[in-house]
Subunit: 233 residues, 2 copies
């Protein structure tokens, strides 16, 4: 078991929660990093806080980022979020929920924090299968970021730190991600996925993220515990 430090990008969704569980079981001291970036709902930050506490993060840092001032995304502006798309349509294009350079910005802050606390490893729930529409969730992008990161810092240039971008879910389907998490005992009732929840935090059930989540649980052969919890069953 390692006792190294790791920065984990934590959105409170299925992927980052599974990554948090993996890093926790690998023995890392976890430093959880979330962002308030103008997304439409605060509920995902509540989920991120619960997940961070569950995995005994040494610190959970929530940073405010002005992505809405840059625009270009349905998640941070009043552009319309696609609803009711067929699963087969998801991933065939880059949808308007794409946020320009989001993972580059998120990883850049993770990189800064990694240097300050002395963490070699940055975990991200990037996934190239069910979200293949997003360019910054692909292996070649993550490899290029890692290469850049090792030229960017005082600590990497001086040789005291070598940054590794860890994306253990990169080539898994949503069902495989869920099965992996279940094997680690993840409580997915804590997680939140919807891009555009109702005012009371209930998922819309019709955005791409809700559709991928539902299909993942269906294929994994288990009910979504967040739905079970809400229905009071």
């Amino acid at each position: 078991m390692s006792s190294s430090k790791a920065v984990v990008l934590c959105s409170g969704g299925i992927d980052s929660t599974t990554v948090m569980a993996i890093a926790y079981h690998q023995g890392y001291d976890l430093y959880s990093l979330s962002f308030r970036y103008g997304q439409r709902h605060a509920i995902e930050l509540e989920a991120a806080a619960q997940v961070s506490a569950r995995y005994h993060a040494r610190q959970h840092l929530v940073l405010d980022l002005p992505l809405a001032h840059i625009g270009g995304s349905a998640l941070t502006t009043s552009l319309s979020i696609p609803k009711g798309r067929a699963y087969s349509a998801i991933g065939t294009d880059i949808p308007p929920t794409y946020v320009p350079a989001r993972n580059t910005i998120f990883l850049s802050f993770a990189l800064a924090w990694a240097e300050v606390i002395g963490a070699q490893d940055i975990f991200i729930g990037a996934n190239a299968v069910d979200y293949s529409g997003y360019p910054d969730c692909r292996e070649e992008y993550l490899a290029a970021f890692e290469h850049m990161a090792n030229h960017a810092l005082k600590a990497t240039v001086e040789g005291s730190l070598r940054i590794h971008i860890r994306a253990p879910l990169l080539n898994l389907s949503k069902a495989q991600i869920i099965a992996t998490g279940i094997s680690y005992g993840v409580d997915y009732a804590l997680t939140h996925s919807c891009y555009d929840p109702l005012p009371d935090g209930v998922p819309c059930g019709r955005c791409d993220s809700c559709i991928l989540r539902a299909k993942g649980f269906q294929e994994a052969g288990i009910p979504d515990p967040a739905l079970v919890k809400r229905s009071g069953v």
Copy 2:
């Protein structure tokens, strides 16, 4: 003359102002980008606004970044800023004014904005000579960032955009930068360099940035117009 768009990182200092002049004279439509990131003084943002106006920036975007929450730098925390160092000592180490991953974070936001407005070029006043202590001001770092950037965006992956990181000052001394700017008619009285100015905005004259500025003007053989302006001569 090009009429393409360019994002220019603008701190209001000598280097970024010179870069702004270069990009302006190359015919770009300029989109100026500055950051309020917990630095000790607001005066550099006033300088950035004046410089952006002087070069007819189509837009001057000032973004708030939570770098102080990450820490690790004398510029964003209460760590002491070195004063009165000999010029020969500057650049032999990485000083406490280093901000972890600063250029990576700044360039990441520039990248997002570049995609939204359709700019191929991002200008940065990085300089490897007089600031050789900063790892993210070196050619290999900038090349690695550019490579990563071209894997990061919807527009670069789809082939509608190719990002170029332009650092025209990279291998110039401060005196050469000033001479270049003078040849373009830059008014350096607009610029601000000091890391730790007095409450009325007057430069301390003793931080590394003040020392490099003074040496640059001395070697360029001209008086610093900001000093001339202040002294009322």
